[in-house]
C-alpha cells in the first residue's frame, strides 16, 4: 500500500470511443461512449455513478479498472499510472482492484464449484500455500454470509442472492483496495437487493476499501454512496452529496431522473421527459441534453457546458441554466420533489 | 397396396416397358434396320476417337465400327490378316511392301479414297510432325512406337502405294493392321481447326459414321450406306457410357440397352438367370500379368522374384474368380504365333515350399515390398491382387498392398517405393517380336525406366527383330522366354483376360477374341 496520502483512484478526462462497423466496407461511425470524465475516490469512500442505459457508466467502470485503455486521459491507482491491459503489471494489480457484476449467474463459471471460484484469484496470483488458501476462502465466505457447504456447490444450485455473495467473496478474497460494482443489484429480486446492499456496506465499513458503485437505481445509490455522480451521454452532468443531489438536483436531467423514481406513497408531481435518450452515435451539439431539456436555451444548443461548482452552494454541475449563464426558456414549474 | 391388384401392376409394367422399348424392338421386325445400344464401362480414355491418341482396350472396342485400316484382322476367327482397304499386298524386299488399294471406297464425307489419302494417313501431318499441322508430342511417340522404322509411303498410282521401311522388319505387313493406321480423309483432316479438333471427329471409311460424340456419355454411330461392303446391318449403334457394373446390367435388364459390356464373371449367372439375356465371350488375346521392379532393393534379387512367381496360384484364380471361363497361357505367348508358339514352355509352378526355399536362399527377412494396384482397371483386378497378396503372405513375403487411382501413381516415386504392379499384354500379329520386344526390349518402357533390364535379353531382342532366319529366330525367342519368365523374372503370367458381353438372347452376334465389337454384316442377325 504505497503512496498512502494520494487518492486511491484518480481518473482525469477519460474518453473512450468505439467504432461501429456497418458491414465489411461500410462506413464506420465513431461513438463516444465516455467523453471527458474525471473522478476521484479515496479509501473508505463510495462513489455512486448513476445514469440510464448507454450513458457510459459501465464503460467508465471498465476504464477505471484498466480493462480497456482510455483513448484520452489517464487513470492513476494509488499514485501510479494504470499499466496496459494484459501486461504482467496489470495482471498483478488485479488483486488490488476487483469487480462485482450485474448478473452473478453469468459472472460465475457454471462448471466449477463456488469454492474453486472463490479461490481462483488466489490461485492466479499464487497467494499463500494451499492450506492458507483454503483458510482464506472459508473466512471470506463466512464474511459474505455463505455457509461452508456452499463451497462444494455449483452456481446454478444457489439462489440469486447467494450467487451474488459468491461473486463478492471472489472479489474480496485478495483483500482489494478498490471494488467496482457494476449494477450489482439490478438483476436481483427486490428482497435480495436489500441483502446485497447491506452486505456491501458492512464489508466496506470493515475493510475500508474504496468503492465505485455503478447503478441506474438512484435509491440504491443514495443508500450506499458517499458521493454521487450523474452521467448523461458519456459525461458527468452533476456531482455531489447524495442527499443534496436527490433532494435538490441542479441539472434538469438529474431533476427528471429523481422525479421519475416510482416510490410507494409518492404523490408529488413529476417531470416527464419527452423523447428517447439520443443515440450516442449522433450526439446533439452543445449540451447533449438540450433536445429533451425543458429549460434549454439557445446557448445550450451551441455551447458545451462545463462541469464546475455552482456559485450558490458549490454543487458541481454542468448546465448553463443552473449556473445562471442562460435564462431558462420556461420557468421551471416543478423542481420540488417528494 | 390393397387397391392395386397384381394383374394391374403387371399390366402397367408391361405397358411401360413396351412404351419404352417400342422404337427399338419394333423396328427390328420392320423393314427398317434395327438400332442397338451398347452399355460400356468407358467409351474412350482420351475423349478422342482418333486411335493415335486412344491406344486403349476401350478404344479398340469402338474404332472398328467407324474406321478401317489397310489390312484387317479376322477378329472373330483366328486373328489372321485379311484384306480391308487393301485388296492385296506384296513384299518387294525386306524393307518394302507394295499395296493395292480397294477401289470405290468412300469416306463419310462422300470423298472417294485414293492413294493420296492413304499416304496422308501415314504422313507427317497426322502422325510424325514436321508437316503443315502441329502434331501433339504424344501422338508422335505413339506412332514411332507402333511403326519404329517407318520411312515413307510412296504413291505409285491412284490405288497403289509402296511402303518403305528404314530397316528389316519381319512383321511389316502386320503393322499395317494396327489401329493407328486407320485411313482418314485428307481433305477432312486439313479442314479441321487443329489436330485435337480432328481427333474428336475423324472422317473415316467404316460401315458406321460418327453422328454424335458426347465425351464420357454417349457415342452415336449411324449406318454409312455408301460403305464398300454395302448397307450395314444396323441403322444405328450407340455406345452409352455406364461405369457402374450394376448400372450396365440394370440398363440391359430394363431394356435400356441391347448389349452390356465388361461383365465380371461373377455376374454372368445373375444376368443369365433371366432367359431374355445371354452372356457371350471368353478368353481374348490379352494376357494379365504382374510385373516386378528390379530396381527395388529387395526385388533386385532374382531369387525373390522367382519365389514370387512360384507362389501365384493361377488355377485357383481362374477357377474362383473366372468360374473357369478363361485359361492360363503358357507364358507370354499366343497359340496363333504358329511356329513361334513354344508349346513346351511352362509357367513357374505354384509351389509354396519351393518359394519358401528360394526366399531362405535369398536371405529374405520380411522386408516390405509394395504392390500397387488400380481399383479394377482390369476385370477382378482388386480381388486377384488380394488373392495373390494372401498367397505371397503365406510363403512369408511381406507384400504391402497399395490401392492407387491412376497409372501415374503406379510409377511415382523412386525404386524403393515401386515394387510390383499389374499389367496386361496383347498381341495381334503371329510373331512374338512386336509384342515382346516392344514391351520388354530396349525400346520398351520398363527398360527405359530402369524397371527391368537384362543384357542378354536385350541382345536377343534385337536379333529377333533383325534376323530373317526363322529357325534362329525361334531359338532366340525360346531363350528370351526362359530369361524373362524363369531365370530373371520380369513378371509372372496370371491368366488370359476374358471379355464377357451380356446381350439380348435373340440377337445373333459373336464376340471377338479381343475387345473389338464387330457390327459388320457378317456378324449380325436378329
Amino acid at each position: 500500500m504505497s503512496g498512502g496520502t494520494a487518492e486511491l483512484l484518480e481518473a482525469r478526462d477519460l474518453a473512450r470511443s468505439y467504432m461501429m462497423h456497418r458491414g465489411f466496407l461500410g462506413r464506420t461511425t465513431q461513438v463516444r461512449a465516455v467523453d471527458g470524465v474525471s473522478l476521484s475516490l479515496s479509501r473508505g469512500e463510495t462513489l455512486g455513478l448513476v445514469g440510464e442505459s448507454g450513458c457510459g457508466k459501465s464503460t467508465t467502470a471498465r476504464l477505471v479498472l484498466g480493462i480497456e485503455p482510455p483513448d484520452e486521459g489517464a487513470v492513476t491507482f494509488d499514485g501510479t499510472a494504470m499499466p496496459r491491459s494484459g501486461t504482467s503489471n496489470w495482471a498483478a494489480l488485479r488483486r488490488r482492484m476487483q469487480m462485482v457484476y450485474q448478473d452473478p449467474l453469468q459472472a460465475l463459471d457454471k462448471r466449477l464449484t463456488i469454492g474453486a471460484q472463490v479461490a481462483e484469484p488466489l490461485d492466479i496470483h499464487r497467494i499463500g500455500t494451499s492450506a492458507e488458501r483454503r483458510e482464506r476462502v472459508a473466512a471470506v465466505m463466512a464474511e459474505v454470509g455463505l455457509q461452508p457447504h456452499h463451497a462444494a456447490r455449483h452456481p446454478q444450485s444457489l439462489s440469486g442472492g447467494q450467487r451474488q455473495r459468491a461473486v463478492i467473496a471472489r472479489a474480496l478474497v485478495t483483500n482489494p483496495d478498490l471494488l467496482v460494482c457494476d449494477e450489482p443489484i439490478s438483476a436481483l429480486d427486490v428482497s435480495i437487493q436489500a441483502l446485497v446492499l447491506n452486505l456491501l456496506m458492512d464489508l466496506q465499513e470493515r475493510s475500508g476499501m474504496g468503492m465505485l458503485f455503478v447503478s441506474h437505481d438512484l435509491r440504491a445509490v443514495r443508500q450506499i454512496s458517499h458521493r454521487v455522480a450523474v452521467m448523461y451521454l458519456g459525461r458527468i452532468v452533476e456531482e455531489g452529496e447524495p442527499d443534496a443531489v436527490l433532494q435538490d438536483p441542479a441539472h434538469p436531467y438529474a431533476q427528471a431522473l429523481v422525479s421519475a423514481i416510482p416510490h410507494p406513497g409518492k404523490t408529488a408531481a413529476r417531470v416527464i421527459l419527452q423523447g428517447d435518450p439520443p443515440n450516442p452515435a449522433n450526439r446533439p451539439s452543445g449540451c447533449a441534453f438540450h433536445p429533451r431539456c425543458p429549460v434549454a436555451t439557445a446557448t445550450c444548443r451551441t455551447e458545451v457546458p462545463v462541469l464546475k461548482p455552482r456559485r450558490s452552494d458549490g454543487r458541481r454541475v454542468a448546465c448553463h441554466v443552473a449556473h445562471g449563464e442562460a435564462a431558462p426558456a420556461r420557468a421551471p414549474t416543478m423542481l420540488e420533489t417528494c | 397396396m390393397t387397391g392395386i391388384t397384381r394383374r394391374h401392376l403387371l399390366s402397367v409394367s408391361a405397358a411401360s416397358t413396351a412404351a419404352f422399348a417400342m422404337p427399338r424392338f419394333a423396328s427390328a421386325q420392320s423393314t427398317e434396320r434395327p438400332a442397338v445400344t451398347v452399355a460400356v464401362q468407358r467409351i474412350s480414355n482420351s475423349n478422342t476417337l482418333e486411335m493415335l491418341t486412344e491406344q486403349s482396350n476401350v478404344g479398340t472396342r469402338i474404332y472398328t465400327s467407324y474406321a478401317e485400316t489397310l489390312i484387317g484382322n479376322n477378329w472373330i476367327g483366328d486373328m489372321s490378316l485379311q484384306p480391308q482397304l487393301a485388296t492385296s499386298w506384296k513384299r518387294v524386299d525386306d524393307q518394302t511392301v507394295d499395296v493395292d488399294l480397294r477401289e470405290g471406297v468412300k469416306f463419310h464425307n462422300g470423298d472417294v479414297m485414293t492413294a493420296e489419302d492413304v499416304a496422308f494417313s501415314y504422313g507427317p501431318d497426322r502422325m510424325w510432325g514436321g508437316g503443315t499441322v502441329e502434331v501433339p508430342e504424344n501422338v508422335k511417340v505413339v506412332a514411332r512406337q507402333a511403326l519404329p522404322a517407318f520411312e515413307r509411303i510412296e504413291v505409285l498410282g491412284p490405288h497403289k502405294i509402296r511402303l518403305h521401311n528404314s530397316s528389316i522388319d519381319p512383321v511389316l505387313e502386320g503393322r499395317l493392321s494396327g489401329s493407328i493406321g486407320m485411313i482418314v480423309s485428307k481433305r477432312a483432316f486439313m479442314e479441321a481447326k487443329s489436330w485435337m479438333d480432328w481427333a474428336r471427329r475423324p472422317i473415316t471409311t467404316g460401315p458406321y459414321a460418327i453422328t454424335e460424340y458426347k465425351p464420357d456419355s454417349v457415342l452415336t454411330l449411324s449406318a454409312f450406306d455408301d460403305h464398300w461392303e454395302g448397307r450395314p446391318p444396323l441403322r444405328q449403334v450407340r455406345f452409352v457410357e455406364t461405369p457402374e457394373t450394376a448400372s450396365r446390367i440394370n440398363l440391359l435388364r430394363s431394356g435400356g440397352a441391347d448389349f452390356a459390356c465388361d461383365i465380371p464373371p461373377d455376374q454372368i449367372a445373375t444376368v443369365e438367370a433371366d432367359k431374355r439375356f445371354k452372356v457371350v465371350g471368353g478368353p481374348i488375346n490379352n494376357t494379365r500379368y504382374t510385373v516386378f521392379n528390379k530396381s527395388h532393393p529387395v526385388l533386385a534379387n532374382p531369387l525373390v522374384r522367382q519365389a514370387l512367381t512360384h507362389s501365384v496360384d493361377r488355377n485357383l484364380i481362374v477357377e474362383s474368380l473366372w468360374s473357369g471361363r478363361t485359361e492360363v497361357p503358357r507364358g507370354l505367348q499366343w497359340s496363333f504365333y504358329g511356329d513361334f508358339y513354344i508349346a513346351d514352355h511352362e509357367n513357374p509352378a505354384y509351389d509354396p515350399d519351393k518359394a519358401r526355399a528360394l526366399l531362405r536362399k535369398a536371405g529374405y527377412n520380411g522386408e516390405p515390398i509394395p504392390y500397387r494396384v488400380l481399383n479394377d482397371y482390369y476385370t477382378a483386378q482388386t480381388a486377384t491382387a488380394q488373392i495373390n497378396t494372401e498367397n505371397w503372405r503365406a510363403v512369408g513375403l511381406n507384400i504391402k498392398l497399395q490401392m492407387v487411382e491412376n497409372w501415374g501413381q503406379i510409377s511415382e516415386g523412386g525404386p524403393e517405393t515401386r515394387g510390383i504392379h499389374d499389367w496386361s499384354a496383347a498381341a495381334s500379329l503371329p510373331d512374338p517380336y512386336v509384342q515382346m520386344s516392344g514391351s520388354w526390349g530396349p525400346l520398351g518402357s520398363p527398360w527405359k525406366s530402369n524397371q527391368w533390364r537384362n543384357e542378354e535379353f536385350g541382345k536377343l531382342s534385337q536379333e529377333l527383330g533383325s534376323s530373317t532366319d526363322k529357325t534362329r529366330r525361334i531359338a532366340v525367342w525360346r531363350r528370351m522366354l526362359q530369361i524373362i519368365e524363369i531365370e530373371d523374372p520380369a513378371y509372372v503370367v496370371l491368366h488370359r483376360n476374358a471379355s464377357f458381353t451380356a446381350k439380348r438372347a435373340d440377337i445373333k452376334w459373336t464376340p471377338a477374341q479381343s475387345f473389338v465389337m464387330d457390327f459388320r454384316r457378317h456378324n449380325w442377325s436378329a
Partner: protein, 336 residues
Amino acid sequence: MAFVEIENLSVAFGRSMALRGINLSVERGEAVGLVGESGCGKSVTWLAALGLLPASATVRGSVWLDGKDILGAPKARLEPVRGGRIAMIFQDPAASLNPVHRIGRQIGEALTLHRGMTGERAKAEVIRLMDQVGIPDARNRINAYPHELSGGQNQRVMIAMALAGEPELLVADEPTTALDVTIQAQILDLLTTLRRDTGMAMVLISHDLGVVSETCSRIAVMYAGRIVEEAPSGQIFSHPGHPYTRGLLGSLPPLTGPRRRLVAIPGSVPEAARMPSGCAFAPRCDLSTELCAQVDPAPLPLADDHSAACVFAKPYQRNVHPVAGEGAFARERVLQ
C-alpha cells in the same frame, strides 16, 4: 359481480405448481396492481385466464367475464375476448412485436379483427391510435419495423395495438421493466392518461411496489403462486398485513430521511416443485412458528377491502392515514 372474476385459478406445469388457487376480481374502470417477485405467478395468472399458456400447462378454476366462464372456452368464444375485451401488453416490447411486419400492419390487424376496419379507414385509425399513444410523426412511422424504434416507442406501439380493439380491460405485464427510468415514467404516465380518457380497467403487473402504487388504486401482492395480501394501495403501505409485504417495503431504500439499514427478507423464493408445507413464506419469515409450517393460511380480512393470508395478521380500523388511494388520478403532468 365484478367485470372479471378469477376464481380459484390454479396452473401446473408438470409436477410444479405455478399457481395455487388465485382469487382476484377487477371491476370496470378499476386499476389493480399485481406485485410480486419473479416466479410468483403474476404473469401466468393472466396468460392462463386468456388461454395463452402452452398445452403442457394444466389449468383449473374459473375466470368469469361478465358472468360467463371463459376458462377453457372454445376458440370461437375466446378469440373475440382476446384483444377485444381484454387486451394484454408484455414486458419486452421489442420481442413482443413481429420483427418482420411493419408496425402499422400489426396495429391494423387488431382493428380488422375487432372492429372490422380495412383499407384507408383502418389506416387513419392506426394513425389516430399512434398519435394517441404519443408516437411522433405517426403518418411516417406507420411503415417502420419494430427494430427501427426504441424500446419506449415499441411499448407505445404495443399499447396502441391493445387499444385498437377498444378493450374493457388492459393487462399490462411488467410494461416498463425493460425500460429506463425516464421512459418508464413516460409509459406509466401514458397508461394513466389513457385510462382516464377511455375508462377502461387495467391490471398492472410489476415487481416494483413503487410502480404499482402510483398507478393503481388496489394492489394484490403475490408470493409463490398465491395472493398473500390484497388492499387499496394506500393501506398496503400504511398497514402492511403480511410479513412478506412488510419485507418488500422494508427492502426498498428510502429516498428521504436518514439512511437506515435495510430490512431484508432472508432466504429465497421456494421452487415451484418444492413448495414447503404450510405457509409458503414461513421459511423466510421471522415471525413464523410451528403453526406456520402446518397451516396454509387463508386470506384474513383486516379491514374493508384489505385481506392478508397470514395467521398473525391483525385487523385494524381504516382511515387512520389520510393518504387515500386516489393518487393515481391526482397526477399532474407538469411539463407538456
